[in-house]
């Protein structure tokens, strides 16, 4: 908790934290309450409305409340991006650390070349292949984005771990007879956790944009479940007379991603050991 208090004095972190908390709260509340039913189509009674007092964000051409759909859509965006980050961290970090602990050997080379291969498949291409093979679905987006996250985290953690392996306190641990996996768990991963946390927020933000893109072209979440990307797709043909249909979900994406990026920037500053625990002035040494 003391950490949170210091962190909140950082402006980027405070704004990012507030926005992210708001989006998460919105998604959580949507499980028990939304202003209107998400799929309540009332073409005749309600119809297309611009934002007003009863429908804060307006309604779409089928009379569905946009705020309710944005709230439920947040659930979808957060889940997909979060699971994709977990896949990336869960597989990428162990792989990167393993490669680094073998420093320069055949396994290291093979793992890194494997990464190069995955890097040639942006999430969109993976999603295209998965959809072509198994048909569309939200799970495709998770897998496609998650796969692309693996080499991102593998490279990052390998680079950080390689630098750490040269440090003298790692030599001391080796002289203490500790095995490479144990050193990785006790010394390597804790010392790169800051880096990983920052990268995870960035990957999370990127995941939200990617998920929206995939849903927009029909490779992600399928209707009727609302998703921000799909809402943009539906809004496209009505751009000329109902621009709010495109502006509202777009802004939802921008604000969420902005919040996460600010959070990441703030964390980077707050967690930076260079700023946090400055070396004491060398009075006696």
């Amino acid at each position: 908790m003391t950490f949170l208090r210091t962190a909140l004095s950082n402006r980027s972190f405070a704004i990012g934290f507030a926005i992210t908390a708001l989006v998460v709260a919105m998604a959580a509340i949507s499980f028990i309450w939304t202003p209107y039913g998400v799929d309540d189509q009332r073409v005749m009674e309600v119809g297309l409305q611009t934002p007003n007092l009863s429908y804060w964000l307006g309604t779409d051409n089928l009379g569905r409340d946009l705020l309710s759909r944005i709230m439920v859509g947040a659930r979808n965006s957060i889940t997909v991006a979060l699971v994709a980050v977990i896949i990336g961290v869960g597989l990428g970090v162990p792989l990167g650390c393993w490669a680094a602990s073998r420093g320069g050997g055949l396994i290291d080379e093979a793992l890194m070349r494997g990464n190069d291969v995955i890097f040639a498949f942006p999430a969109l291409l993976s999603a295209v292949m998965i959809t072509a093979t198994f048909g569309p679905g939200a799970i495709n987006a998770i897998i496609a984005i998650g796969i692309f996250n693996i080499p991102v985290f593998a490279r990052l953690s390998r680079g950080a771990a390689l630098a750490l392996w040269k440090r003298e306190f790692i030599m001391a641990a080796r002289a203490a007879g500790k095995s490479a996996p144990r050193i990785t768990v006790e010394h390597i991963i804790p010392n790169m956790s800051n880096l990983l946390i920052v990268q995870a927020t960035i990957a999370f933000a990127l995941g939200i944009i990617q998920e929206a893109g995939l849903a927009y072209v029909g490779l992600g979440t399928q209707p009727p479940f609302p998703s921000w990307g799909k809402m943009l797709n539906e809004a496209q043909t009505m751009m000329a007379f109902a621009p709010h249909l495109a502006i509202v979900p777009g802004l939802a994406i921008v604000i969420t991603v902005l919040g996460l990026n600010l959070l990441g920037d703030g964390l980077r500053d707050v967690l930076d050991p260079k700023l946090a625990n400055r070396r004491p002035a060398e009075g006696d040494a």
């Binding site: 003298e168 030599m171 001391a172 641990a173 002289a175 203490a176 010392n191 400055r278």
Partner: protein, 541 residues
């Protein structure tokens, strides 16, 4: 009129005061040394003179250079002065040169800027200059990039660059601290010759009294941002009028008191603690061409020696001679390409993993850099206890007792237990590193340059600690250092390495007083020595 006149200079960075009322004068063609320990403000005085201070600095007082007031000079004037009338050489040759520019372009850049000559003319002059500092163009063409040169060679490029316009004032900030003694001697000679040749004034900043005693006319001693004492070098260092100067001089030639006679190999009848038998370590090189494989680098080449219980063995040599690789193999952190290492009757090369745990308990390590040798996220209790991993599991309170006992051995209290590494000073951290090494009650400690990152007064204390511990606990040391003074003061015998081989060995006194091998002679000759330097001076009162 003097060339540089600093009066009552005070400096603070942000809210932190750095310098208080510093006075310093450099005459034309004069060499002034500034000595002091870390945090004394010696580098900041130099940077203030060049107006290259970090952002957020504020200064008061006066710095007159020729007829300019530096503190109130505008950017344009300072840019004219810098590189042309005043120039600077920095400590870290590995990072002070632009990695993507050739050395020729970097040396020529200042000439083109200040004299407006053509690139080809500047290159031609750069070639002469580089030859003058020992980098002839037939072996070191101007098209070389910094990464293709060694540290010593890069420092030569720095000197060529700084002297390109024959500035009136040259500032050298610890120009040889990152180099080994032989390179240090070469670089200092080049500096001294160039300064004399071109009539430049020189400010030489150093932590090493012996270097300053060899090189300078005037001496300024600084501590905590203040000038403690100033005067002619020989006089000041012989009189030692000021207690702090006297303390520095005493610490820099400190020899720990010993109760026991030295353990000499020739007199041993006991079995050796460590026996290194014909050990070699080769490294494969990346292919330089498609058609021929490069020969392996022989980092350590057929080395044998014995180390007896309670013996302190020095291992000296120039950088790259293979001493660190050898030490890593003795610690079983690296495996020899051939040969064997036997510790207390067991092979370190052929033992099974289960047996290795027991062997590792008998040997521990202390590193050079007290900042890097602890995990910044672990408390000292956890860090010092780490080698206990090698022993059967202890209860929490037994563990703590062992840590406390170890801390007491090195003169620290239980207050250290719950603190983190950054809460300690460098000297304290080196004590903690020794405590960590002692916790398994080892019989051998390998110490890799354990005092070379410490200031002289702290260095003396840590050397005392090493000596006391050896006598109390019967430890054997393998003591790696490039500083012959430290080795002479703390070791019984010494091994001199050169190009992967041991070229000379014997009791420290014999080797350092009468070196036979070329490598040992080189080292002894290059090592700065305060008394010798003072004896050679003729300006003593």
């Amino acid at each position: 009129m003097s060339l540089l006149n600093i009066e009552n200079l005070s400096l603070s960075i942000g809210a932190t005061p750095i310098l208080h009322g510093v006075n310093l004068t450099v005459g034309a063609g004069e060499i002034v040394g500034i000595v002091g320990e870390s945090g004394s403000g010696k580098s900041m005085t130099a940077l203030a003179t060049m107006q290259l201070l970090p952002e957020g600095s504020s200064t008061t007082g006066s710095i007159r250079f020729q007829d300019h007031q530096v503190l109130s000079a505008d950017d344009a004037l300072m840019q004219d002065l810098r590189g042309d009338d005043m120039a600077m050489i920095f400590q870290e040759p590995m990072t002070a040169l632009n990695p993507v520019q050739t050395i020729g372009d970097q040396v020529a850049e200042g000439m083109i800027l200040h004299e407006g000559i053509s690139r080809s003319e500047a290159q031609h002059r750069a070639e002469n200059l580089l030859e003058r500092v020992g980098l002839p163009a037939d072996r070191y063409p101007l098209s070389r990039f910094p990464h293709e040169l060694s540290g010593g060679q890069r420092q030569r490029v720095m000197i060529a660059m700084a002297c390109a316009q024959s500035p009136d004032l040259l500032i050298a900030d610890e120009p040889t601290t990152a180099l080994d003694v032989t390179l240090q001697a070469q670089i200092l000679k080049i500096l001294r010759d160039l300064v004399a040749e071109r009539g430049m004034g020189l400010i030489l900043i150093s932590h090493d009294l012996a270097v300053v005693a060899q090189m300078t006319d005037q001496l300024v001693v600084m501590r905590h941002g203040e000038v403690v004492e100033a005067g002619p070098t020989g006089q000041t260092l012989k009189a030692l009028a000021h207690p702090y100067t006297a303390q520095l001089a005493a610490a820099s030639s400190h020899v720990p008191a010993r109760a026991n006679p030295p353990v000499l190999t020739a007199q041993q009848t006991r079995p050796a603690l460590v026996e290194v038998q014909n050990v070699s370590r080769h490294y494969g090189q990346r292919r330089a061409s498609l058609f021929q494989a490069s020969p392996p680098v022989k980092a350590v080449d057929d080395v044998s020696f014995k180390l007896f219980p309670g013996q302190s063995m020095g291992l000296v040599g120039e950088s790259g001679c293979g001493k660190s690789t050898l030490a890593r193999m003795v610690l079983a952190l690296d495996a020899p390409t051939s040969g064997d290492i036997v510790l207390d009757g067991d092979s370190l090369v052929n033992s099974e993993t289960s047996r290795m745990q027991g062997l590792r308990r008998k040997m521990q390590i202390v590193f050079q850099d007290p900042f890097a040798s602890f995990n910044p996220r672990h408390t000292m209790e956890r860090a010092v206890a780490e080698p206990l991993h090698l022993e059967p599991k202890l209860s929490k309170s037994d563990r703590r007792d062992r840590v406390v006992a170890s801390l007491e051995e090195v003169g620290l209290t239980t207050a250290a237990l719950s603190k983190y590494p950054h809460e300690f000073s460098g000297g304290q951290r080196q004590r903690l590193a020794i405590a960590r090494a002692l916790i398994t009650r080892p019989r051998l400690i390998v110490a890799d340059e354990p005092v070379s990152a410490l200031d002289v007064s702290i260095r003396a204390q840590v050397m005392d600690l090493f000596t006391q511990l050896r006598e109390r606990l019967g430890l054997a040391y393998l003591f790696i250092s490039h500083d012959l003074g430290v080795v002479r003061a703390t070791c019984d015998e010494v091994l001199v390495m050169d190009e992967g081989k041991i070229v000379e060995r014997g009791p420290v006194g014999d080797i350092f007083d009468h070196p036979h091998s070329e490598a040992a002679q080189r080292l002894v000759e290059a090592t700065p020595d305060l008394e010798r330097a003072l004896a050679l001076r003729n300006d003593a009162a």
